[in-house]
Every structure is written in structure tokens, then in C-alpha cells.
């Protein structure tokens, strides 16, 4: 990517900071010096260097190998398809959550938004106005559901922007309020999709990939490009890293954050629509605790709650790690409640290791 005219300027620059490959500070301190010296050259290998910087993928590999060995059913194309479909729901929201969290905010209302969007998607297609539309009646229903998601996101973002109240509080309120609206709207009943084309969608495959998995992977790619390559993505890091500096650089922080809330609202709604196609129904309790699963996945992927740090590659790792753990333990007939215990422990353990090994040189105070 370096333009040719800068090549001639590659004069030696006096170092202000490390030039040679260095292990993460925590590893340097934990390992015996001889071992550290022996490991350091390995970092010249780009794959290994990448793994050290993205520890969640090491974990994904471990989980993958572990279940492949201990379970007869894990290592199979059919099961991989399953994992992708199962993770797509949480995964899609996690994409939006990564943006919002890198921004230094959080969104707790995604589970409730998902439920409301799903209820709209299933209900609207049976409205009398669309009775003669045939399968096309699905289109306005899905569009309306997605708009509901975007609108709720915009509302969250607008309140955060204009009131300055912490996003945690605003979206906590939204979580309660929207869930209440779901019950009001559905009258505590489940809606069932009368048009079977709707529930057939989830069984659709394009080549070897189930449609749901494909949507998730395409969205992942899109959000990855958005965050890593576009101006909006750059500003997302800047606003989360140092809001004041972002303001001083002329970034309009309020509208910027609102856009990210709209994006996560969109993904929550999309996730709700896809989930309801899988079930052919929308229940008022749909998406309960999803905000916690999503945050777990995003945090496992290395995104910091304080903002300014994180990426989609890490989030994908976090989503897959959770998906494979749930799937693998399920295949091994581990009772569901133990899955929670294991996942909770792993969350804390992984973050502990990350803190231990990926410290920066000056942040190394022992508490």
C-alpha cells in the first residue's frame, strides 16, 4: 500500500520505542528469560504473531481440536453448518455490539428489540391489507421489522447524544421498556407465521452454506470492512479512544454514535427476523439474556468495555468459541446448566489470561 514516492525516504529512524519483535509484556515477565528468548524468534512467523495478538483464535483452535477428538459427531460438515446457523443469531448482534462498544457505549436493549422485531415480522404478514400479496406479504413485514430495530436504535442513540446519560443506563431502561412493549403488542401470546414460505427460508441453502450462515458471514465481512477501512470505522475508534480529541478533530460525536446505535438496532431486528423464520413463530420471551451472550462473545473477542479497542475478527472468534462450546457440549450430552457454568468460568479465565499476557509496558502495575 506504500506509494512509490515514499520508498526512497526509508531512512533509519531513531527509535523511540521497540522496533524488534517483542512478546507481550506479560509473557516477557511470566516466562523464564531463556524460554522467552527462544520463543521470540517464532514471532517472525506472521501466523504465530497474529495468534499472539488475537488470543481468542488460539482458544477457538483449542476448542475445535478438543471437540473433534472427544466427540464423534463434532467434526462433520453438517455439524459445522449447524454451528454457523446456531451462532448467526448472536453473531449478527455481536457485529453491531462491537461497533457500539468500540465507541465506548453499550447496548443492553438488543434482546428486547429482537423480540419486538420478530413479533412485527410475523404479525404484519398476516395483516388484512397484505392478504392478496401472496408470498410478497413477507416483504413489508420484514422491512417494517427492520425499521423498528433501526428506529429503536436511533432512539437509544438520540437519548444518549442529547441527554448525555450513560449508554448503560439508557439502554437498560430501553431493555425494560421495549420488553414491556413486546408483551403489550403480543398480549402475552406467541405469533405463528401462517405463510410457510417464511419458515422455509431458514431451511434454504446456497451451495454448501445455509442461507442464515451466508447472511451472517456476509454481514461479518461488511462490518469488518466498515470498521477497519472506512471513515466511519476510523471515527468509531477515535470517539471511543478519546472523545474529547475526537470532538477537537471536528468529528460530530453525537450523530456518529447515533448511527452505531442504529446499526446495532438493525442487526438486532435482523437477528429477530431470522430467528423467527427458524421457529416459524415469535414468542414474547424471544431473545431473553441475548444481550449477555452477545456481550460475552464481544468481550471474549478482545473488545474493551472502555472503548477504543476491538475488532470484528476478534468478535467472530468470540462468537465461534461460544457457538462451538455450546454445540460441542450439547453433542456430548452435557446438561444445559453446566454449559452456563463452563461458559461463565471461561469468560473470566480468558480475560484474566488476556490481562496477564497482553499488558502494555507501562500499565503493568500489580494490584
Amino acid at each position: 500500500m506504500t506509494p512509490p514516492d515514499t520508498v526512497k525516504e526509508s531512512r533509519p529512524v531513531q527509535a523511540d520505542a521497540p522496533v524488534e519483535q517483542a512478546l507481550p509484556q506479560g509473557l516477557e515477565e511470566t516466562l523464564p528469560r531463556a524460554t522467552a528468548d527462544r520463543i521470540r524468534p517464532l514471532l517472525d512467523n506472521p501466523v504465530l504473531r497474529w495468534l499472539v495478538r488475537n488470543p481468542i483464535w488460539v482458544f477457538v483452535l483449542i476448542v475445535f481440536v478438543f471437540f473433534s477428538l472427544v466427540s464423534d459427531h463434532f467434526f462433520a460438515a453438517r455439524n459445522f453448518q449447524n454451528i454457523l446457523v446456531q451462532t448467526s443469531t448472536i453473531g449478527l448482534i455481536a457485529l453491531g455490539m462491537t461497533l457500539v462498544m468500540v465507541n465506548g457505549n453499550i447496548d443492553l436493549s438488543v434482546g428486547a428489540t429482537l423480540a419486538l422485531a420478530a413479533a412485527f415480522a410475523v404479525d404484519v404478514q398476516s395483516w388484512a391489507v397484505f392478504a392478496t400479496w401472496g408470498n410478497w406479504q413477507i416483504l413489508p413485514a420484514v422491512c417494517l421489522a427492520l425499521l423498528v430495530g433501526i428506529g429503536l436504535g436511533a432512539l437509544n442513540g438520540f437519548i444518549v447524544w442529547k441527554t448525555g446519560v450513560d449508554a448503560f443506563i439508557v439502554t437498560l431502561g430501553a431493555m425494560l421498556g421495549i420488553r414491556g412493549l413486546v408483551f403489550v403488542y403480543t398480549g402475552e401470546q406467541s405469533f405463528y407465521a401462517m405463510n410457510f414460505a417464511y419458515s422455509d427460508f431458514s431451511a434454504l441453502s446456497i451451495g454448501p452454506l445455509p442461507a442464515l450462515a451466508l447472511i451472517f458471514l456476509l454481514c461479518t465481512l461488511a462490518v469488518h470492512l466498515l470498521l477497519s477501512r472506512t471513515v466511519h470505522g476510523r471515527n468509531t475508534y477515535a470517539v471511543g479512544g478519546n472523545r474529547e480529541a475526537a470532538v477537537n478533530a471536528g468529528i460530530r460525536v453525537g450523530p456518529h454514535m447515533m448511527i452505531n446505535f442504529m446499526i446495532i438496532g438493525f442487526f438486532a431486528a435482523l437477528s429477530g427476523v431470522l430467528l423467527s423464520t427458524q421457529m416459524g413463530a415469535a414468542t414474547p420471551n424471544l431473545g431473553r439474556d441475548y444481550e449477555l451472550w452477545v456481550i460475552t462473545a464481544v468481550v471474549l473477542g478482545g473488545t474493551k468495555l472502555t472503548g477504543g479497542k476491538g475488532d470484528i475478527i476478534g468478535t467472530l472468534g468470540g462468537v465461534l468459541a461460544i457457538g462451538m462450546l455450546r454445540n460441542g457440549m450439547n453433542l456430548m450430552n452435557v446438561p444445559a446448566f453446566y454449559v452456563y457454568v463452563v461458559l461463565g468460568s471461561i469468560l473470566i479465565a480468558v480475560l484474566f489470561l488476556d490481562k496477564r499476557f497482553n499488558r502494555t509496558a507501562d500499565g503493568g502495575l500489580r494490584l
Binding site: 506509494p3 516477557e28 470492512l225 476510523r234 480529541a245 471536528g250 468529528i251
Partner: protein
């Protein structure tokens, strides 16, 4: 190292020998020797990044050295934690205050070691009696029951010092203690240091301010690039020698006397009012000149800069940029008009520390550096390379997070960020705060150079030598008003001091 016979008659309170500390890829300390005698003030000097802070963190048990020995009162010791260091009588008074603001002064003083009664209850009576005694010794005007959050910064610093006195301190380290003190408070601090000294405590004094070091210290040790550069007797040396040791060359402190080639008036401000920060402010800046704003902290200088940059809305007045009357309601508009601001706290207001040097540099214009929907990395690197070379920014690569650079280089990144926007007016608020002497003079030179290239430059500074050195004109402010304007030829230090203290000057409106 030395034979018994060669040892000085008195045992040093503390001796560090050949201390080595390596961070990945950086040798932060490379065989540093340092000692403090009881009853001595030993100044530790060096540019930012020379290793002073690392050395002190080793001393305070926060870092473990990779090599070398620490000898306290003749015994070699290892200190694994800050608490152990404190037990050895070594106390560090931090540059950044580390107090719990919601707690009382007394609780802060004895934090972690509150006196107890049965069942672990706090013995408040003893606590307050003891802390009041210490505060009295420090001649503080407040008592132990005062809430720290309500104290002034200077008094908070006193609490920090009081904390040091709870143990039988052998060595007290002061790290830039005067950074936030007024002159009167400094006098008190120096008295305290002299008291401690008389009691036989060894003092390590870290500061960038030469005048303080020469008034206070007995000896001066200089570090450069993590290496020991020598120890000098304060009485037998001078600023020049110390500076040379510090930066490896002498410093040219003279003013660049090339007369400015003035262009048109770029910025004109009339009757600008933003109560309570400033009132009826009027001045103008022409292309090719540096206008210095000098005054006490709170005189309204920064508020003017913020108003010009759209961060503050004004009640009345007029701003003209390049002859056209404008209103500025947001930084976005200010930037579009060619006004840029290098803020006074670069870490809090200027930089996104975990972002790379390149990304910080291109932040305000990244929307113009796109190829299709994506940011063009090549265009960004081209800009970064251009300003890295122009401003002589030292960083191994554009990927380096800005947070690991030295203060001087960070400041240059902020300046480069705005220069690459081709501004008309460059406002620089406290251009060299927290920056070491070497980089300081480099930045001064840079500001002069920018003016010579036709930028209109406003420099806000609380340091008189700085204002005198870089400005073609100096605007003096007192209490939100401009009291006087000097040209570089007519200004004298006395007149300037009077103008910013509101003495005997008619208010110019």
C-alpha cells in the same frame, strides 16, 4: 564496587548500583548508579524518556530491576512491592496525585494502615490526632477531617506529602512536585523539604525546572537515554553544563531575530465577550507572525482559543477570518475556516493514545482521503511521511500507538495533524507543557519557522521565557480582559508582569 577504605565516611541512605531494566525492545535503564546521603537533596534530571520515572519505580518496588543492586543503609535489599519499599523507609510522592477524593485527608494519609480498635473497627480518635499532628508539622491550614475532594490541588499535594511522613522515611522522592503549585505554595513546599533535610532524610528531587533545582539541591545526577551521565555538585556547576549533559549538546536559547514578513490580517476579533471567561476582547493576527498570549492561569486565554475553535459560544462580538465576518459554532466549522487548535492537554484533548501515529495525524481529514468507500492507506501514509520528515518526528513506524511516544514527539504529531490541513491560523495552547528542554527549543524553532512560512500563529503560554522567545507581538491578559499589547522590541519582563497582574494599566478595550 569500592573498597571499604574508599567509602565516604557516612553511609548513603540509599545506593543504586548498575540498575538495568529492560522492556520488550527497549533498554529503559542501562547500568544506572545513583545514591542519596542522609540530609541531602539530590536532584535527578533528564529529558522525558531518559529513565527517571522507571528508576523511581524500581526504587519504589513497582518494577523489579533485571540487574544491579539496591543498598539501603548498607544492606542490600530486594523490594517486591511498593509496601515493602515503604517499610524500608522509601516513599514516593507521585506527580499524579493518588488520593481517594471522597475520603477525608486523615483516611488518605493512613490509607491501608488505619489505626484499629477491637473487631477491626477504625480508631478514629487516634487517626485524627495523628494526622492532625502531621498536618500541623506541614503547616497546613486544614485538618484531618477535611474531605480531599474539597481541597485545592496544592493542599491535596500536602496530603500526599503527609502520607510520606507517617512512616519513618529514610528517602523521600518528589516527582515534579511543583507542577500544580502557586509560587506561595512552592515556598511552603521548599520549607518542608528543608525541614526533612535537617531531620536527616535523603531527598530525591525530580523536576524540569532548573531554577528550583539550583535553589534546592546539593547534587545533581543526569540521565540520558537510560544511561547514567554523571553526578555534579550543584555549587560547582551551572545550567549550561547540566543542559549539555542532559541533551548532549548546548541549547540555543536566543530568539530568532529575523524580522517577520507580514502578510494580510488573517484573523480579526472585535469586542468578543463570553462571560465570565473574557470580555470585550479585541486583537488581530497577520499572516507570518506569532502572537503570544500571556497571563495567569484562568485569565481567559484558553477560553478565547476555545471560542475561536467553536468549542464555546460567545454572547457578542465579531470574528473576521481573511476579511470575512464569520460565526463559529463547532470545531467542524472552525476547521473549515482554516482555524486549528493544538490544545493544552495533548493526552486528554489532542490525541487518541491507543491509535497509531498515522491515524492520529490524519484524523480531521480522513474523510477526504478515501478511495471509493474506503480510507486510502497509501494517501494517509504519504501525509504521515511528509510531516514526520518536516517536523522530525521520531517514531519507528506509523503503526506505533501514539501513547508510547515521548511528550515532544506526541506534540509534534498534534501539530502535524493540523499543519497537514493547511490551516490559516494555528492556535497553540501551552506548546511545551510537560516537554523536556531539548524538544522544547525544537518546538519553539518550529513555531517561528511556521510563521516564516506564512501561517498566522497564536501561542498561549504561562511561561514568560517561552512567550518572549517565540512572539512577534505579545497580548497580556488579566481577568478576562486584554490589558496591553507589546511588540517584541518594546516588551520588558517587568512591564509584562505588571500587565498580567492588573497593576497600573489602563484597560484597553
Amino acid at each position: 564496587m569500592t573498597d571499604m577504605i574508599e567509602r565516604p565516611a557516612r553511609e548513603p541512605a540509599l545506593r543504586l548500583e548498575g540498575i538495568v531494566k529492560t522492556f520488550p525492545g527497549v533498554r529503559a535503564l542501562d547500568g544506572v548508579d545513583f545514591e542519596v546521603m542522609p540530609g541531602e537533596v539530590h536532584a535527578l534530571l533528564g529529558e522525558n524518556g531518559a529513565g527517571k520515572s522507571t528508576l523511581m519505580k524500581v526504587l519504589a518496588g513497582m518494577y523489579q530491576p533485571d540487574g544491579g543492586t539496591i543498598v539501603i543503609a548498607g544492606r542490600e535489599v530486594r523490594m517486591a512491592t511498593p509496601l515493602e519499599a515503604k517499610r524500608q523507609g522509601i516513599v514516593l510522592i507521585h506527580q499524579e496525585l493518588s488520593l481517594v477524593p471522597e475520603m477525608s485527608a486523615a483516611e488518605n494519609i493512613y490509607l491501608g494502615e488505619l489505626p484499629r480498635k477491637s473487631f477491626g473497627r477504625v480508631d478514629w480518635k487516634t487517626l485524627y490526632a495523628r494526622s492532625d499532628a502531621i498536618l500541623e508539622r506541614l503547616r497546613c491550614s486544614f485538618r484531618g477531617d477535611a474531605t480531599v475532594a474539597h481541597l485545592s490541588i496544592a493542599n491535596q499535594q500536602m496530603v500526599e506529602i503527609a502520607r510520606a511522613l507517617t512512616v519513618d522515611a529514610r528517602v523521600v522522592v518528589f516527582d515534579e512536585p511543583t507542577a500544580s503549585l502557586t509560587d506561595a505554595e512552592k515556598v511552603v513546599l521548599f520549607d518542608i523539604i528543608n525541614d526533612l533535610k535537617a531531620q536527616g532524610v535523603g531527598i530525591v528531587y525530580i523536576s524540569h525546572r532548573m531554577d528550583e533545582i539550583f535553589t534546592l539541591s546539593d547534587r545533581i545526577t543526569v540521565l540520558r537515554d537510560g544511561q547514567y551521565r554523571g553526578t555534579l555538585d550543584t555549587a560547582a556547576t551551572n545550567e549550561d553544563e547540566v543542559t549539555r549533559l542532559m541533551i548532549g549538546r548546548s541549547l540555543d536559547l536566543s530568539r530568532d531575530t529575523t524580522p517577520a514578513r507580514l502578510g494580510d490580517t488573517v484573523l480579526e476579533v472585535r469586542d468578543l465577550t463570553c462571560a465570565p471567561h473574557f470580555e470585550d476582547v479585541a486583537f488581530s493576527v497577520r499572516a507570518g507572525e506569532v502572537v503570544g498570549f500571556y497571563g495567569l492561569v484562568g485569565a481567559g486565554r484558553t477560553a478565547i482559543a476555545e471560542a475561536l475553535f467553536g468549542l464555546r459560544s460567545c454572547e457578542s462580538g465579531m470574528i473576521r477570518v481573511a476579511g470575512k465576518e464569520v460565526t463559529i459554532d463547532s470545531p467542524e466549522q472552525a476547521i473549515a475556516l482554516g482555524i486549528s487548535l493544538v490544545p493544552e492537554n495533548r493526552k486528554e484533548q489532542g490525541l487518541v493514545l491507543q491509535m497509531s501515529c498515522r491515524d492520529n495525524m490524519t484524523l480531521p481529514q480522513v474523510q477526504d482521503l478515501t478511495a471509493g468507500p474506503f480510507v486510502s492507506s497509501g494517501a494517509e501514509i504519504a501525509i504521515f511521511d511528509q510531516y514526520r520528515d518536516r517536523l522530525a518526528i521520531k517514531t519507528p513506524s506509523w503503526r506505533q500507538p501514539v501513547g508510547v511516544l515521548s511528550g515532544g514527539n506526541q506534540q509534534k504529531i498534534v501539530i502535524g495533524k493540523w499543519l497537514s490541513m493547511q490551516p490559516r491560523v494555528l492556535i497553540v495552547d501551552e506548546p511545551t507543557r510537560g516537554i523536556d528542554v531539548g524538544s522544547k527549543s525544537e518546538i519553539h524553532g518550529l513555531l517561528r519557522e511556521l510563521a516564516a512560512q506564512g501561517y498566522a500563529v497564536i501561542v498561549i503560554s504561562s511561561e514568560m521565557p517561552e512567550v518572549l522567545r517565540v512572539s512577534d507581538r505579545i497580548v497580556a491578559m488579566y481577568h478576562g480582559r486584554i490589558t496591553r499589547e507589546f511588540s517584541a522590541d518594546e516588551v520588558t519582563e517587568d512591564a509584562l508582569v505588571q500587565a498580567i497582574s492588573g497593576i497600573g494599566v489602563e484597560l484597553v478595550s
